[in-house]
């Protein structure tokens, strides 16, 4: 589908919002295990060393990073900044660029 970059950023913001709603279950589960007892904290550490779990955590963190970047763009635009067509295209490019960099850094940190 050929859509302007702004449309992709907007659709992906929606998709990441829905994804995060489910992803929060993973984070709350991790919070539960991290606080329940020293043993469960240790087994969470153990669990987080498996590549599959790392991948799941990375996916949730990536969703959070992207949704937050696009969300901040919304907030900036709510203040009337970058509301023109050119401004929005530039904003969308910034959102994508920052997200890619931060998601890669998060990946490095998780692995």
């Amino acid at each position: 589908m050929r859509l302007p970059v702004t449309a992709w950023v907007s659709i992906a913001h929606r998709a990441s919002g829905v994804f995060l709603f489910a992803g929060m279950a993973v984070l709350i589960w991790a919070l539960d295990a991290s606080l329940a007892s020293p043993e469960s904290f240790a087994s969470l550490r153990e669990c987080l060393s498996s590549p599959l779990v790392k991948l799941v955590v990375w996916a949730v963190v990536a969703g959070l990073i992207y949704h937050t970047m696009a969300g901040v763009k919304h907030l900036v635009m709510d203040f009337g900044i970058g509301e023109t067509m050119e401004g929005s295209i530039l904003g969308s490019r910034i959102v994508i660029a920052l997200s890619v960099v931060l998601i890669l850094l998060a990946g490095v940190w998780i692995w």
């Binding site: 919002g17 829905v18 929060m24 606080l35 329940a36 907030l75 940190w109």
Partner: protein, 120 residues
């Protein structure tokens, strides 16, 4: 037909504002927790942090914000795609069913979260 009965604040403007306020709270919370995790934590330090009243208040605030934020956000999505206009009566049934499921999940998150924050 536009029914303003399942949106959070019964008003689009109120919902819009809630979406912004909760977004900022969530942003602050994830930034803070992210920084703590980046600094590295062991069990005693992590436990100690979450035993503080201000941290519990902050966490609960974030959790409740998540509830409001997700409700407003998902409401916008469901009322865009699961509608009478797009699929007839099925749309209404699907939309209400989807909202009921999300409400149940959100309620579970909140009660589960409270139990984690105050239970251990």
């Amino acid at each position: 037909m536009v029914t303003a009965v399942t949106n959070l604040g019964r008003s689009g403007l109120y919902d819009w504002l809630m979406q912004r306020v909760t977004a900022v709270i969530l942003l602050a919370y994830f930034l803070y927790v992210g920084c703590v995790l980046l600094g590295g934590v062991d069990y005693p330090a992590w436990k100690e942090l979450h035993a503080q009243t201000w941290m519990r208040v902050f966490s609960l605030l974030a959790l409740l914000s998540l509830g409001a934020h997700a409700w407003v956000g998902l409401w916008a999505i469901f009322t865009d795609y699961l509608t009478e206009r797009l699929m007839g009566t099925t749309g209404n049934v699907l939309r209400l069913a989807a909202q009921a499921v999300c409400a149940l999940i959100m309620f579970t998150y909140i009660v589960w979260g409270i139990q984690i924050l105050w239970g251990y």
